[in-house]
């Protein structure tokens, strides 16, 4: 076959991948058409089955991480759509996380990519102050009114500009505050994950979350020592970085006397429900992680569980709901958000035909512009064909992506978080 075996081609030992997981795949191909990259390219090389075959071939030392193989593995969105249709129960997400980590360990990313990775995973996400700098940057950008010159901008700047223009003035700080609910309703206590990007870019949504929870009788505590959830580190192959973030969060929340840890980002919730995967060899944290994960609740599942007070306002919107990949494919939450929307009078829900990944996928869009924008565009086509005037989502990444695509098309469609619309349905009565 002519492939030279290189000494660096050691097995995935460095990442502790469970090799049994690889062999669960019986190459039946049933996952192919659920995979966004396969659907766009029509190539086995960029399909779940193909990626698993590459992992197996590397493990069996039939090849090594060649640049071509790296590029096919790296084009995976980690959306885990394949995992949810796989009849063999192949834990694709986990396999891919280990594989990415293997790519990083073997230094197979380009120099530029490695530097950006390090900067993002070691500096930006874990350190809230960098994010604060970012928020100052945004303020300066706005003060200079750079957004007034959108006509002069190159196309790729428009989504970014849109995101900046939509950023609220005030950030939402995880400063240990407790927001008390209306004392008339039966009391519950919950803690809230503030996250890393949301408190800046979507701080209004964070405030809305607090109001909606308060309205429904929940006191909301926002621990100060919490950190970024680590999802982006895990997806980028920085398992060690993710572990230390996970530990910090476990420590911040584990001893609180609360009913649930509320998360309003599908991606964060998904990873927090899987923290125990990181601590297979750390008994102390494994036990804590399991307890922690059991408390993590997406806002929609929690609100359905406690059954909410019916919103008073009539909202005359036609909405379509965007299933965030990690909410639907990993957390398996698809009906609670829809059930919540149904409780708002006046709202008409129209389903999109195609519910594939929108191409946001964390930092994916930074490194795979082309694929990301093809997916964004096809998502927007599905959105537009519903004739909805509002898109609802439970994940900030999807919201930014769809918003960006909408502004590229000059579409008047509004993108809202599920809690934003609930808040609107409650607020006038308050």
């Amino acid at each position: 076959m002519g492939i030279e075996i290189k000494p660096e081609n050691t097995i995935f030992t460095s990442t502790q991948m469970d090799i049994q997981d690889l062999y669960k795949c019986v190459h039946c191909g049933l996952c192919l058409s659920s995979c966004p990259t396969y659907t766009v390219l029509g190539k086995e090389t960029d399909s779940p089955r193909g990626r698993i075959a590459y992992m197996k071939a590397i493990y069996e030392e039939k090849t090594y991480l060649t640049p071509r193989i790296v590029s096919h593995l790296d084009s995976c969105l980690q959306c885990r759509a394949c995992e949810s249709v796989c009849p063999s129960g192949v834990p694709f997400g986990r396999l891919m996380e280990h594989t990415k980590s293997y790519i990083v360990n073997k230094k197979k990313y380009s120099f530029f990519r490695s530097v950006v990775n390090k900067f993002l995973y070691k500096v930006v996400f874990p350190k809230q102050f960098i994010l604060s700098l970012l928020s100052i940057g945004i303020k300066v950008y706005k003060a200079l009114k750079l957004n007034k010159i959108r006509i002069l901008m190159p196309g790729f700047m428009i989504p970014l500009d849109k995101m900046i223009s939509d950023t609220p003035k005030e950030v939402f700080r995880a400063d240990g505050s407790i927001f008390y609910s209306n004392p008339i309703v039966k009391k519950r206590s919950v803690a809230l994950l503030s996250g890393c990007v949301m408190p800046i870019v979507q701080s209004d949504t964070m405030r809305a979350t607090v109001r909606v929870l308060n309205k429904n009788g929940c006191d909301v505590f926002v621990p100060e020592s919490q950190k970024c959830c680590g999802a982006l580190n895990i997806h980028g192959g920085d398992l060690e970085g993710a572990k230390s973030l996970a530990k910090a969060n476990i420590d911040a929340f584990i001893d609180l006397d609360i009913e649930a840890i509320i998360v309003v980002s599908g991606g964060c919730g998904a990873i927090m429900k899987e923290y125990f995967d990181l601590f297979k060899n750390d008994e102390e944290y494994l036990e804590k992680a399991i307890r922690f994960s059991n408390k993590v609740k997406d806002i929609s599942e929690f609100l359905i569980q406690i059954s909410i007070i019916k919103p008073e306002n009539n909202l005359d919107y036609t909405v379509t709901y965007q299933d965030s990949c990690h909410l639907s494919n990993v957390q398996k939450i698809t009906s609670p958000p829809r059930q919540l929307l149904e409780q708002i009078e006046g709202i008409t829900i129209v389903e999109m035909e195609d519910n594939k990944c929108c191409g946001a996928a964390g930092v994916y869009s930074l490194f795979h512009k082309e694929m990301s924008s093809v997916l964004a565009s096809s998502k927007m086509d599905s959105v537009e064909s519903t004739r909805a005037n509002v898109v609802i989502s439970g994940n900030p990444g999807c919201m930014i992506q769809i918003n960006g695509e909408a502004s590229k098309r000059k579409s008047p469609i509004k993108v809202m978080h599920l809690v934003d619309i609930l808040d609107e349905a409650y607020s006038y009565a308050n």
Binding site: M1, S33, P87, S88
Partner: protein
């Protein structure tokens, strides 16, 4: 080995992005859904019939084999390039070109995914009937090449009953049409011969299929029985009562366990076998027939019989059935799926023989199959890493097929012969039968350039213009 000028010429036709030839990349084109494996020398992704015609002509000049490939879900090694050559992947040709609602016809490209067609025409009140369990991924082109069936073929027939015409590219690069959108065509029915030819007679590039109106009402029953014998008897009783359910599927205990492990769709864990019986038609018809089904099953002491109350429940029942093979994959690293057909009345007897074979080779064999047509799918679970396993499993597969043939059945219900089962062809065909089949194939593809080494026993070349009577002697 391929030379660089071949690559250059191919790239000229489809563009650089759509030719792959580096050995590392090619690793993922060496398999399909079966256990066979072999690497192609180059992989090409054409976009049109014209592309394919040019590629075929180039292959002729360079003396290369051409192996068509759809989604690669085949279960008999059909798309595996056993002798290398150019793998022609048709996934980019995936447009639904036109729908004629009045005449209920669709003109599609071969790479269209089976289920996508049904989804696309659903809003017009139509569906495409052949529904292989792999329908979420497999392509219409692959379906034609394998003459695929599916659970609902009991009532609706297999692929060949739903294809009206096909544009094909022949071995010398000509583009021709077989059949016509009118159901009766003067002259020979060449389309009938082409469907099921496993990529050896030509490459399907456009296809006209027949669509059916979505039935007014559908009822899916889940009946559980203590033993597989009782369930088999129920199948015979239902069919002999004159009812034609749209599907009758059986799953044995091992399969039920596997499915519930992974898919969780509510099959009872106390059952020795379950049947999925689906009825469709007008409201009155279906509720009347449903009563009859209930009566028959109850009179045969079924443990329980229920009807799916909602679309979700129905989908869950089918998700279990359609995911059964994959779910079995969760029990062992590999499975070998045998695809034999027996007369319905011989089901219990054949299943007993299978369970004896399972004991003998000391490997579990699960049974999940289209019971209504007697199309068995015994699934041998094994681990290919263990030495000597491959021969053991192949041997057992052979014994099972022999058992099917012995009771008056046949070799394949729907998965094709491919590479995997070609040596078994002698079991049901005489030399003269095979000769005749070969002459038909050779009249389309005399040089054996298209998908060599499949269907006919022997190597890639020995049967080119061959004569089985001489070949075997």
């Amino acid at each position: 080995m391929v030379n660089s000028s071949l690559i250059k010429e191919l790239k000229k036709i489809v563009g650089d992005d759509y030719v792959m030839h580096h050995p590392d990349e090619l690793l993922v084109f060496q398999y399909d859904g079966s256990t066979d494996k072999a690497l192609p020398d180059v992989v090409v992704f054409p976009k049109s019939s014209e592309d394919i015609s040019s590629i075929v002509k180039i292959a002729n000049r360079y003396d290369q084999y051409i192996i068509p490939r759809g989604a690669g879900t085949g279960l008999s090694g059909g798309a595996v390039p056993m002798y290398g050559g150019i793998e022609l992947v048709l996934t980019r040709m995936n447009s639904i070109l036109s729908i004629d609602v009045e005449n209920r016809l669709a003109l599609v490209e071969p790479g269209v995914v089976n289920l996508d067609l049904s989804k696309y025409v659903a809003s017009m009140g139509l569906f495409y009937a052949p529904d292989p369990s792999s329908q979420i991924s497999c392509t219409i082109g692959g379906n034609i090449a394998e003459n695929s069936g599916g659970p609902h073929c009991l009532k609706y027939g297999v692929t060949t009953n739903h294809v009206l015409a096909c544009e094909i590219v022949t071995e010398n690069g000509d583009i021709i049409w077989l059949g016509d959108k009118f159901r009766n065509v003067p002259g020979y029915d060449l389309l009938g011969g082409f469907v099921g030819s496993e990529g050896m007679m030509g490459i399907a590039t456009k296809i006209i299929v027949n669509l059916l109106p979505i039935p007014q009402s559908v009822k899916t029953h889940l009946a559980s029985f203590a033993t597989i014998d009782q369930a088999s008897f129920a199948v015979s009783s239902v069919i002999s009562s004159g009812l034609i359910p749209s599907a009758i599927e059986m799953m044995d205990k091992l399969t039920i366990e596997a499915v519930e492990n992974v898919v969780k769709c509510g099959y009872p864990d106390t059952a020795g076998a379950v049947l999925l019986i689906e009825l469709d038609g007008s409201n009155e018809e279906v509720s009347e027939q449903s009563k009859q089904i209930m009566d028959i099953c109850n009179s045969l002491e079924c443990q329980d019989i229920s009807v799916a109350a909602s679309i979700e429940e129905r989908n869950a029942l089918w998700r279990g059935r359609k995911g059964a093979l994959g779910a079995l994959g969760s029990l062992a690293p590999n499975y070998f799926l045998v695809d034999g057909v027996v007369p319905r009345t011989k089901l219990p007897e054949t299943l007993k023989t299978i369970s004896k074979i399972s004991e003998k080779i000391d490997l579990p064999i699960a049974n999940v199959f289209h019971a209504g047509d007697g199309n068995l799918h015994p699934c041998i679970l094994f681990d290919e890493q263990e030495p000597g396993m491959a021969e053991k499993v192949l041997g057992a597969g052979g014994e099972i097929l022999q058992a099917c043939v012995d009771v008056g059945g046949t070799l394949t219900g729907e998965h094709g012969v491919g590479f995997e089962k070609k040596e078994f062809m002698y079991k049901i065909f005489s030399n003269s039968d095979l000769d005749q089949m070969l002459r038909l194939k050779s009249s389309f593809a005399p040089n054996g350039r298209l998908n060599p080494g499949k269907v006919f026993p022997g190597g890639p070349k020995c049967f080119d213009m061959g004569n089985y009577n001489t070949f075997r002697s």
